[in-house]
Symmetry: C2
Subunit: 392 residues, 2 copies
């Protein structure tokens, strides 16, 4: 038996374990100090009442013969696909039910989608980046090209026609940088992909945080995207589903001469058995008027945190992206510190934990990520400490 | 962009759509006739009260700040892994927490596990077979060898040392045949795999139906299995989780010189985000004393159906396997009919629907699958009709 040797080329990510180690060591040495965490990418607010109520009702259904549900369609129940189609329709985007695949989260599908593409494709990935794009392609032995995201391009790299790419990862609003493409910028990517015969794998997991006009909330707001893009979206951040697990993937009927949609359906019916019925009912509740209102309140709560962080950085004169249409704030480390130096400086002098940008790629060096997913109180106190420290 | 061309070699399964088409046509032509279905592989009894109560409690937890859960460990919460380890311990099998990976079902993991193995492996698959084993390997472009399961070997093929296989699929009790390996037979497979350096992918999804002594309920009851086998199990049939989605995979620490376990962990942390917290709590409840009692009652209910079917076939003098340690009954079509002829005969003359064995592989021709997952009433009525028809 031969193992998949590509796995031995996947680099181990020590980022979060390194952070945890440093924080634990600091806390052990200074047990009286209160450490505040603005580094996490996980939500903290509980599920909305409308969602809990749907979970409860669906659980009851599963306990009665007349309403019990066994195997459902692998691609998701129509009641949820229709709700998702309605969500797109509000934004003037038409997505057919057959193009929507309910998933257990964007991460699964972002990895699994690679199944339907040949190994012999060149992959284009921005740096810094969510590590899953890189690791899944290394596991499959594909050639990876990186494009530079930097302060110069506002961490929003644009297409370069001299580069031939087959699969292109875009994430907007971006993790980790929080930078968000405008519709016009995205149109340039769609035009490039169509010209090159490439496919954009578009991670829209943070679209709900976009508030400014003119910014893209879906790749399908660009003309021609249906022939060159797959979109991955998730209820994780939109509705606090990080531990409840539901998202969706849109594979347009017209992509790859109609082949990609059928192949993905075949992949899912063969290697997946659908999302739990009760979770699909919970997801449906997110799209109810009550659910929309309640989850929007949660998004507002986090965006208030983001605003507090952003405002402080503006006052301190520190360059950053994100924080306006994203729960992530990506800042340039002050005083010329590198990412880990700033991490240590902040931990030791303000007892605030963030994430060193260098952990997300070469171009992340010298940058630092703060997140808005903490509580209001923690965020305010952490920001006060940062302001105090950096304005000394 | 290049598609994965191996997908074009996957044969479309028309089995269940062909059945549905024939039944619909018959029903349209004979609207007054009541068609009874003994063909489905899905459970019909609702979730046990202990499970529903756990779902309800976990849903409430998710609605409160103090008890809300975000991202969990991709490989599953310790509370559930410990419960699963305890389930093995009852049978005298030691499985460490680190060897257990909680999954959203056996089907997902049976497909996804192939990620950690190279493409250049020869796969050995019994015929007839659950189509997922074949399709997932065709999708990856692997070489497949088939081994014959037939009436001669009781549909339990044994190892042939002249065949060199790298990955071996075993499913016991078997879907579709219901045949179950004894511990001694399984030991021969484990010895073969260790001798060849092969890996057994052991599908134990139906282990809970085994009642006779001496039959295997886990591959790990064979000595040496920890160096050559991965086991896939599921709550789908054991606890009616077909629409709730939870199972587990055991990847032993010692498999492939300790590499396989780490690679599967890397795969899951990269392409999976874990099973919903509420579902893991529901699964934990299956292993509580109350849950065990309630789900055992459901298994008994189905096995009573199986007994009713088996008894009738014995009385009719029809050869079959399964039905004693399995919810599936695999019978030889009477009067020399082929699988589809018998399907039509049964539908037209008794209005009973089963599954033609030919749909599961070449060796399934001339055989037919009935399942015990219907209601008691439906099963009894269908059996009465079959007896009446075939004893004429």
């Amino acid at each position: 038996m031969k193992l998949n040797e590509n796995y031995f080329n996947v680099s181990d990510s020590y980022l979060f374990s390194a952070i945890a180690g440093k924080v634990a060591a600091y806390q052990a040495a200074h047990p009286q100090k209160k450490v505040l965490r603005l580094g996490i990418g996980d939500v903290t607010l509980p599920l909305a009442p409308a969602v809990v109520s749907a979970l409860r009702a669906a659980s009851e259904e599963m306990g009665k013969s007349e309403t019990f549900r066994g195997y459902g369609p692998e691609q998701g129940y129509l009641f949820l696909k229709s709700a998702i189609a309605g969500y797109y329709k509000e934004r003037g985007i038409r997505v057919d039910d057959g193009e929507i695949f309910v998933s257990d989260g964007a991460k699964s599908d972002l990895g699994n989608i690679l199944d339907i593409f040949g190994r012999d494709n060149t992959v284009l990935i921005p740096d810094p980046v969510y590590p899953v794009y890189v690791d899944t392609n290394v596991m499959a032995g594909r050639k990876i090209l990186y494009m530079n995201a930097s302060r110069e391009n506002g961490f929003l790299p644009m297409p370069d026609y001299s580069v031939d790419a087959d699969l292109i990862y875009l994430c907007s609003p971006n993790n980790p940088t929080g930078a968000a493409y405008s519709v016009r910028q995205l149109q340039q990517w769609v035009d490039y992909a169509n010209a090159k015969g490439a496919v954009i794998l578009y991670d829209a997991a943070y679209e709900c945080f976009v508030s400014e006009d003119g910014l893209a909330r879906s790749v399908f707001c660009a003309e021609g995207a249906k022939t060159c893009a797959v979109e991955f979206c998730s209820l994780s951040k939109m509705a606090g589903f990080t531990g409840t697990r539901c998202g969706w993937t849109v594979v347009p009927e017209r992509l790859a001469q109609g082949k990609a949609n059928k192949m993905w359906l075949r992949r899912q019916t063969t290697k997946f058995n659908g999302v739990p019925y009760i979770v699909q009912r919970a997801a449906e509740a997110v799209f109810s008027p009550e659910g929309r209102r309640q989850t929007a309140e949660n998004v507002d709560y986090y965006m208030n945190n983001a605003r507090v962080i952003a405002q402080a950085l503006e006052e301190l004169g520190i360059w950053f992206t994100g924080g306006k249409n994203s729960p992530y704030i990506w800042l340039e480390c002050p005083h010329g510190m590198d990412s880990w130096q700033f991490f240590d400086y902040l931990l030791e002098n303000a007892q605030v934990v963030g994430t060193p940008g260098a952990g997300f790629g070469v171009n992340g060096e010298g940058y630092f990520r703060l997140t808005a997913f903490g509580s209001k109180e923690t965020t305010r106190e952490a920001v006060a400490r940062i302001k105090d420290l950096l304005s000394r």
